[in-house]
């Protein structure tokens, strides 16, 4: 078994443990009122920090890609798992940012990390603002179908546009993008790039965690459960959705620009439906509505396909497909639900009165 798999194993902490055991673990956790989530997050972080030390070089490169995709998965998780907006076009923001920074590097020789990453983020944000504004900000709430087809169409159209547009390299995309730089230093594939993206993932993760644990997160929980109900309370539900959609777009843009520089090329698939679907699978597989679930989902799906494609060259997509179906069928809340109880997943947004008065005691918080 490749070493990457051992990371993957650690990450999920009992991925292959049998159902009954996991159920019991979850039950014990609920009974004890303990917080499992910080433990899972800690384990994943430690595994991620140690990975390059134990992995062969080519696997570190692979792991870097996976971390970038995990960042991308976070963006979709915010939008779908927290706000309940079915975006089938998340790759539009990922890929357009990728193309954007590729053009900056190719045509303007701009590769400074402090310019290209903000530029990619802004590109993702802008596209999400435009598309989200159009799809979500009508006077009356838009239907789920309208939004999912709208985002899907956006992504599909961008794919076709990129394929046909000579300036963007047509079918071949933009190859040989110059490396991202910091002063005289060039970020090439390897541990430095890995730790850079890991650092960015951690920062973005913490920001998202803050967001979803705040009272804004409570409003999002209401939005996800019953949009109409919270509108009748006086919440501007469509505004909330547009805001979270835009934040999601910005994070996808950040991930896309990192991806472009890491891979060294961008191609039409990156804005298209294939990558849009991929990110949906990460989040469904890992567990939507928990931030760590999205990260774990990206790691597992990518790790498993990497391993399968090595060992079952011809039929691996079928095996992966069946695995995904099984998880979605039997664990609709994703792999994370093996260790995480429903109560902790949804979380609490108001502290208990006695906990308010005793600062020493651990506060009950929302699950990120």
């Amino acid at each position: 078994m490749p070493k990457s798999m051992s990371v993957v194993r650690e990450a999920i902490a009992g991925d292959e443990a049998d159902d009954a055991m996991a159920e019991r673990a979850a039950a014990v956790q609920v009974a004890a009122g303990r917080n499992v989530l910080p433990i899972v997050e800690g384990v994943v972080l430690v595994a991620a920090l140690l990975a390059p030390l134990v992995l062969q070089d080519y696997l570190t490169v692979f792991a870097t890609r996976v971390i970038i995709l995990a960042l991308f998965a976070l963006s979709f998780d915010l939008v779908w798992g927290y706000a309940g907006i079915m975006s089938f076009g998340q790759a539009l923001f990922f890929g357009s940012a990728g193309y954007g920074v590729a053009l900056l590097a190719r045509d303007l020789d701009i590769t400074n990390i402090f310019l290209v990453l903000p530029a990619g983020t802004i590109i993702g944000l802008t596209f999400a603002l435009l598309l989200g504004g159009f799809l979500l900000l009508g006077r009356h709430p838009s239907s789920v179908i309208f939004v999912s087809l709208g985002t899907l169409t956006g992504s599909y159209a961008a794919d076709r546009l990129a394929r046909g547009w000579y300036y963007l390299g047509g079918q071949n995309g933009i190859p040989s993008i110059a490396p991202m730089t910091l002063g005289g230093y060039e970020f090439s594939e390897g541990p430095a790039f890995y730790y850079l993206v890991l650092g960015i993932l951690v920062v973005v993760y913490l920001l998202c965690r803050f967001l979803v644990r705040s009272q804004f997160g409570l409003a999002l929980a209401g939005l996800r459960e019953n949009e109409q109900r919270i509108a009748f309370f006086g919440y501007k539900a469509q505004h909330l959705k547009a805001i979270i959609f835009t934040i999601g777009g910005a994070i996808a843009g950040l991930a896309g620009s990192l991806y472009a520089f890491h891979e060294g090329f961008v191609w039409p698939n990156m804005v298209g439906v294939v990558v849009s679907t991929q990110v949906v699978l990460y989040v469904l597989f890992g567990g939507s509505g928990t931030l760590i679930g999205a990260v774990i989902g990206a790691v597992i799906v990518e790790g498993v396909s990497f391993w399968l494609s090595d060992n079952y060259r011809d039929i691996w997509p079928i095996i992966l497909g069946v695995l995904l179906l099984l998880v979605i069928l039997f664990r609709p809340l994703g792999l994370i639900s093996f260790v995480l109880g429903e109560r902790e997943r949804v979380g609490s947004f108001g502290a208990k009165p006695n906990e308010n008065k005793k600062p020493g005691k651990e506060k009950r918080n929302a699950a990120p």
């Binding site: 009272q215 409003a219 109560r343 502290a351 208990k352």
Partner: protein
């Protein structure tokens, strides 16, 4: 000037005329019952007032403002609140968070993001939960409540934003006799600061708590007046006898 005035409300769904020129006037601090046989258009009229449905024709005024074209959010912000017929508390959230969610509906984004409101709202949340006899369940998920308790939670949530007008669609549906009695008790104190429109099948309940009644039949107002006037009204007696 009445608090709420709905006039000439027509609502047509395809070939079905649900409301045919219905009207409703509610004064300040008035408990107003909306009754009528099944299919008479009570719920539809409520929805047109609350903004869940847009009337085909007619005008709804609230606090001297024409709100016919307002979205539900705008109506809520103007001081109107609705309890749905089907309970729609948020089942996975705790009772505490359900109330907190309702209380913060008009907070600014900045306040929400930095949770500046949470600490200050604690007493208010607990007061509301205590008022509706739910304080000991504060940190249970709302899904764990009995049907009657969910209805109370929902009324508490609807009242959280301190509305001027509360619209209650069948608040005692599925409740036991005892729960109905308690619901009546729970509603009495809000009269000081809030008017009420209540759709209800339980006529005893309505009679006990309402000041005025409006009777709908086939989308039209059959009669409107004080409880004793309505009880004495011949045509009202007729439709209820016909039904029985």
């Amino acid at each position: 000037m009445p608090l709420l005035e709905a006039a000439g409300i027509k609502k047509i769904f395809g070939k079905l005329t649900a409301l045919d020129g219905a009207a409703l006037t509610v004064g300040e601090n008035e408990f107003h019952g909306l009754i009528g046989p099944n299919g008479s258009g009570k719920s539809t009229l409520m929805k047109c007032i609350a903004g869940a449905e847009v009337p085909t024709q007619g005008k709804v005024s609230f606090v001297n403002t024409d709100i016919t074209a307002f979205t539900p959010t705008e109506r809520a912000r103007a001081g109107m609140s609705l309890k749905f017929q089907i309970t729609s508390v948020l089942p996975t959230l705790t009772l505490y968070d359900n109330i907190l969610l309702a209380l913060q509906a008009q907070s600014s984004l900045f306040d929400l993001l930095f949770s500046r409101t949470r600490g200050a709202l604690h007493d208010q949340v607990m007061t509301m939960l205590t008022q509706f006899r739910l304080a000991d369940r504060a940190f249970d998920a709302a899904a764990a409540l009995s049907h009657g308790q969910q209805q109370w939670l929902e009324i508490a949530m609807a009242l959280a934003g301190k509305p001027k007008l509360l619209l209650l669609d069948e608040p005692t549906g599925g409740m036991s006799l005892e729960e109905r009695r308690v619901t009546g008790e729970l509603l009495q104190p809000i009269k000081k600061h809030c008017s009420l429109v209540i759709v209800e099948h339980d006529l005893d309940f309505i009679r006990d708590i309402c000041d005025r009644l409006t009777v709908l039949d086939q989308g039209k107002v059959l009669a409107s007046g004080t409880v004793s006037e309505i009880q004495a009204n011949k045509s009202v007696q007729e439709i209820y006898l016909r039904r029985a």
